[in-house]
Symmetry: C2
Subunit: 435 residues, 2 copies
Amino acid sequence: MKWLDTREAGFEPSFLALLNDARETTTRVDGAVSAIITEVRQKGDVALLELTRRFDRWNPTEPAALRVTAAEMEAAAATVPAEQLEALQTAARRIEAFHRAQLPTDLELTDAEGVTTGMRWGAIDAVGLYVPGGKAAYPSSVLMNALPARVAGVARIAMCVPTPDGVLNPLVLAAARLAGVSEVWRIGGAQAIAALAWGTAMLAPVDRIVGPGNAYVAEAKRQVFGRVGIDSIAGPSEVVVLADAGNDPRHVALDLLAQAEHDEAAQSILITDDAAFGRRVAEALEQALQTLPRAAIARQSWDQHGAIILVRDWAEAVELTNRLAPEHLQVMVEAPRALMSRIRHAGAAFLGRFCPEAVGDYVAGPNHVLPTGRTARFASGLSVFDFLKRTTWVEADARALSAIGGAAVTLARAEGLDAHAMSVAVRLDAIEKRP
Amino acid sequence: MKWLDTREAGFEPSFLALLNDARETTTRVDGAVSAIITEVRQKGDVALLELTRRFDRWNPTEPAALRVTAAEMEAAAATVPAEQLEALQTAARRIEAFHRAQLPTDLELTDAEGVTTGMRWGAIDAVGLYVPGGKAAYPSSVLMNALPARVAGVARIAMCVPTPDGVLNPLVLAAARLAGVSEVWRIGGAQAIAALAWGTAMLAPVDRIVGPGNAYVAEAKRQVFGRVGIDSIAGPSEVVVLADAGNDPRHVALDLLAQAEHDEAAQSILITDDAAFGRRVAEALEQALQTLPRAAIARQSWDQHGAIILVRDWAEAVELTNRLAPEHLQVMVEAPRALMSRIRHAGAAFLGRFCPEAVGDYVAGPNHVLPTGRTARFASGLSVFDFLKRTTWVEADARALSAIGGAAVTLARAEGLDAHAMSVAVRLDAIEKRP
């Protein structure tokens, strides 16, 4: 963990080092992925069977075995403890309500020239949802990816999840059922992305693919981009906590550790105006690490990427936060809304001393799929907008075209596009010659 | 040009061939582009001077010569004929009005549990706009790319345009001035994209880059993606015209040619329910080709990628259009709105017999930067949304956390993320112990 102090001479270079701390470890897998995609395109379902045997270590005997049946879904959900099922339902209800409020409205305008223009929102027909297998299979992510699609009106949501050694994750299936996923396939890795993008005999292709995955999945998404839409490729998670001395240091320490326990490459940063408070947080964090089950991961994240930044005042904190453009931001000061109004760049914010980021990971309502690695400068979290697209339209009759057509003819000629100009000009002529 | 008829046995394979007609010619330039980006990152402004000499064949003596001055902007605009300047102003006014209407509103909701959630839209700080040089330098594209950014509230728009042989394009500069572009740089190709993404001593980096370009520019955008946001990489243009026999065949022929004259790889498709009308359009098109200045390009596009599809009825036309998901769609039938309501996938639509697509290229108001190559299934045209990003937020006090915190603890534990669970649980404990 680094201690930074804006009052010290070396602050700016140290802060720049933090800003440019490239936490991603990139593995080159493009050749392997391209081979897998070719295999799936050429051999379809047979390739899926072979690749599942090779990578997931179980033996589906026929393509149909790769699809999770309704009975399997029900059986899996029945094994989930009632308390967990209720918590999932609470989460689903709240996530759905928030995303429903995001739904935009269509536009229609008629101007003085008589031209009517409009913009219409429509749902994507079919979406593919990738869910990682094994330890990283998070039911909360199934809700966060599938529910916005459902709310947007996507008719078909096809989910792919690897089942290493043949083992299904009941809570993931329960979440899929709750979120209204249409199909669940036991297919993982680059082969799942290839099947979703290109389709096979049994799995119809989709129009957009979302969801996190390992390096192979990320590279496969890059390679099928263009044929289908993809979401942005998420990097390691991060949080910036703005906290004054009015907070319990242990609360703040656990908030920092909640990020750090995700991944060795995660980053937790505390910005405070009180040095003594900063030290108390650091101590509380060390103490909490003693008993944390994922202490090894959290320790490495905190040691390598963590920071406590001491600022003169909250104006400095705002400036540094805007430069960091963090994925998650906690604002734990006396008047959090006033401070928040000056923050321009953050994926998701959590306001108040009783609003830890972890409530946002599960039940608050807004999405937990968020822009990482300073991309909040230009990118946004997952939302219904990711599952909608816009069609703009223009309606013009003879009178309207007479009013605006001349300018189009002039500009088309200036650009040397004569057929463009003529397509307008012949109509203007026809209008003039009307009785 | 292909004649297709839904009544004929071979229709489906012929239509599939049309759907899968990959019109893109991809050149592998990734190595060259990666070398250019490295050169700009290492040598900054000096690299920009060298690369401009090499690729654009003029000799800027110092970095400052790469920036177009306010005086040069004014002088260039002064050489533009008044008619063209007025047409540009009409276009700018209408484009701005339409995009202003797109501006979304923020969200704030307080629920029964006392949790307040919200979503706030904010502008990107700085945007880079690439404008191709030479023949493909379209002033209309400057307006279409810069005005939505301006309307969204982007504070800084840095435009890069190559000036081959040192020649500035006055109409492009006039458009930039009109659209409120902040800086104009005489830099092109991959070196412009590298400078915008990474910055140099004189050119501050931006957060997102938009605008069309050649293979080098497209590949450079791919390579800097992640560091900055990019727009989608446009393929060749296309139009589908739905027209009944009530139209003047010559009008429809010119609409088809207006697409075809863009590029040999462009695609124009007429769908009609009247064979005789289809033949008349084909004849009118041949006749118009006799005198069209860009006939060679349009001829190749029409011969290789053009099609006339005869349908039994308009329901069939709707189905085929949804499969084509065209960039541009003209609906030239008796009741165009009724037909349009059944079209799910199109970038931009033009309704009525007096509404050629060319008005949309210049003055209608909606954007002319649109999803090509069937990507309208999941993608949308350029808009203010491309220059905005969302921050979601949650505000919870002790009472609100008590209401929803338990579910978060349960789910965090089920996912094995104990610090997540503890960050909520310690606060719930603290609330319980309050006097």
